[in-house]
Amino acid sequence: MSKFPKILSIIFCSLLCATPVLASKLNLGREATKAEIKAWDIDVRPDGQGLPEGKGTVEKGEQVFSEQCAACHGDFGEGVDRWPVLAGGLGTIKGDDPVKTVGSYWPYASTVFDYIYRAMPFGNAQSLSPDEVYAVTAYILHLNEIVKEDFELSKKNFTSIKMPNEKNFFADPRPDTPTMKKKKPCMENCKKKVKITKRARVINVTPDQNKNSTSKE
């Protein structure tokens, strides 16, 4: 108990009073082995925690990418059909049609590693070696003009990579619209005129639900 943070011991104290049986450990589960933790603990954080030993060059990454990723993401990360775009979009984030990519939007390079290592290639996840993930991450960073063509990414130099859009993220400021404290909602004679400004039928992108298309004209 002495090792619990304060908040947990307070909760436990109140539980202790009400239901003593919960206060002590239940002795459920068993200790995880080192090999088990190693097998599953694949996450990587911005400070580099979790990075496996290894390294990979942009050049090697291009080879992995063209073999295992380009079919969906395009040779240069431009995205085939509706598959995700991984590169480009620099300078579009402020505009009307933002293209969010690793280079234009992602705040941390560690996210690229963490995500590819756990989830890509789509349909054959967790099949790449650490060296291949370093290499393909280096290649995606290169496509986004974050590292040079001759760059080799490694566990050692990983945290030196800074992403251009990192500074543009901020904490959730909601509620960001008026609450009852500021403004009681109007109930009567709230406006004089009402006009329809937009219609879904004009856009006409709703799937045809043939069997219950009850909303006929």
Partner: protein
């Protein structure tokens, strides 16, 4: 039910049945409604009256027990299904479908109708091979079997789960014509499971434990960062929904429950929770699930689901088919910050509002069902609902949201929805001044 009258391929018998089910048809006729469908129905009804005509089921034996060891809905309910919008995503394994809100009532979503969102398809997990690992900043890293988990004290809670992208297609204007598509990324079920804090206590949290990273066993290895305060407050590891095992598409055998917070965090097929001292900034909390503002800055860790409501009937998929007269309007309201205190309804596009009636249980971070009964005079309607939660948060208009957030933020669109109902009773998704 009378809406099936419009459906050509239905049998004569089904037609009669639906006319009978909507007893309103008869009543409405008595009050002088001249709607073509109502008149047709009455004509058929007098020729082949469902009371004076014997039905098959009045005379013939039906199926015996065990005809369906796991029961299923009536064949007349075959339109009550989840639906997707194929053009939204590149592949069905990384996609979403929608709960048919307009077909449901009360506050509980049936298990087979809870919307699905997968990032690498549905993992078919063998529960005997499933383990939950707790590692990181703990005194002793632990592994639990399903049997172990079921030996913790259990709790039952009804919570809504809403995808942060619900209504996300509507940021730039009315687009999808139906509440299933505009608001169907939500469900509300009764979870049975154990409190996360009890599981963490078994492993023993170190004093610098500040964040958790739950991770899924599916091929996307879904991972998110959760602050420890929330985890110790009310999070659950659930293994049952509405009394039965979680459905595979909802994370069988276990999923995380994070009351009031965006659905993406409720990691399905939960296999590991790492305890750490800082957030991970995983792909789903950087590339996705961050809210881009007009000035190029982006909000992160926008976990809470704001207070929101939707009129489910009438709506584009559920028009008024009985003509003018007594009409039941119904819908759903919810808030990630607690209970819903009040729902207001307008029939005239916001000129005048009246309080709706919340019926059924009013539970913390659960769906609330509201009704508003009125005499429809047959004139076009501009319907809106506005929910207010127990913290005093008032559901904003879409324009109020756009004023502060612009139109690029994709997530957390809880703006007031407008349905235009024309004189025939058909409804359309519109926006108004």
């Amino acid at each position: 039910m009378t809406k099936k009258l419009n459906t050509p391929e239905l049998s004569r018998r089904a037609l009669l049945k639906s006319a009978a089910a909507g007893g309103v048809t008869l009543a409405a006729t008595a009050t002088g409604v001249t709607e073509a469908t109502a008149a047709q129905a009455l004509e058929k009804e007098t020729k082949e009256n469902p009371i004076t005509t014997k039905q098959d089921w009045n005379q013939v034996l039906g199926d015996g027990v065990d005809a369906n060891p796991y029961g299923k809905p009536s064949e007349y309910e075959k339109n009550v299904i989840r639906r997707s919008v194929p053009w939204l995503t590149a592949s069905p394994e990384s996609s979403i479908n929608f709960t048919p809100l307009h077909e449901l009532d009360g506050i509980i979503t049936p298990n087979g109708l809870c919307f699905e969102r997968h990032h690498a398809g549905i993992a078919e997990v063998d529960p005997s091979e499933h383990r939950l690992m707790i590692n990181g900043l703990v005194d002793k890293p632990l592994v639990f079997t399903m049997e172990d988990l079921k030996r913790f004290p259990r709790t039952n809670k009804i919570y809504f789960l809403e995808c942060a992208a619900n209504s996300g297609m509507e940021w730039r204007g009315a687009q999808l014509n139906g509440c299933q598509f505009t608001h169907g990324m939500i469900h509300c079920v009764n979870y049975t499971g154990v409190l996360l804090k009890d599981i963490l206590a078994e492993a023993g949290l170190k004093t610098n434990a500040k964040w958790l990273m739950p991770e899924g066993a599916d091929a996307s290895g879904m991972n998110r960062s959760i602050p420890i305060e929330k985890a110790l407050k009310d999070c659950m590891v659930a293994f049952k929904m509405n009394g039965e095992a979680l459905r595979p598409e909802q994370g069988y055998p276990i999923r995380l429950v994070i009351p009031g917070w965006e659905g993406n965090m409720w990691v399905k097929w939960l296999r590991r929770i790492e305890v750490g001292d800082m957030p991970w900034h995983a792909r789903e909390e950087t590339s996705k699930y961050t809210d881009l503002m007009e000035n190029g800055k982006a909000r992160r860790f926008t976990w809470e689901m704001d207070c929101k409501s939707i009129i489910t009937n009438p709506s584009p998929q559920a028009p008024i088919t009985h003509g003018k007269g007594h009409t039941v309007l119904t819908g759903l309201a919810w808030s990630g910050r607690g209970k819903v205190d009040r729902v207001d309804i307008t029939l005239d596009g916001g000129k005048n509002w009246q309080k709706a009636r919340i019926d059924g249980p009013s539970l913390d971070k659960a769906l609330h069902r509201f009704y508003f009964e009125f005499e429809w005079d047959g004139r076009p309607l501009l319907l809106q609902s506005r929910a207010i939660d127990e913290t005093g948060y008032v559901q904003p208009t879409k324009d109020e949201l756009r004023e502060v957030r612009g139109t690029n933020s994709i997530y957390h669109n809880n703006g007031i929805q407008t349905w235009h109902v024309n004189a025939k009773g058909d409804a359309e998704n519109v926006e108004i001044s």
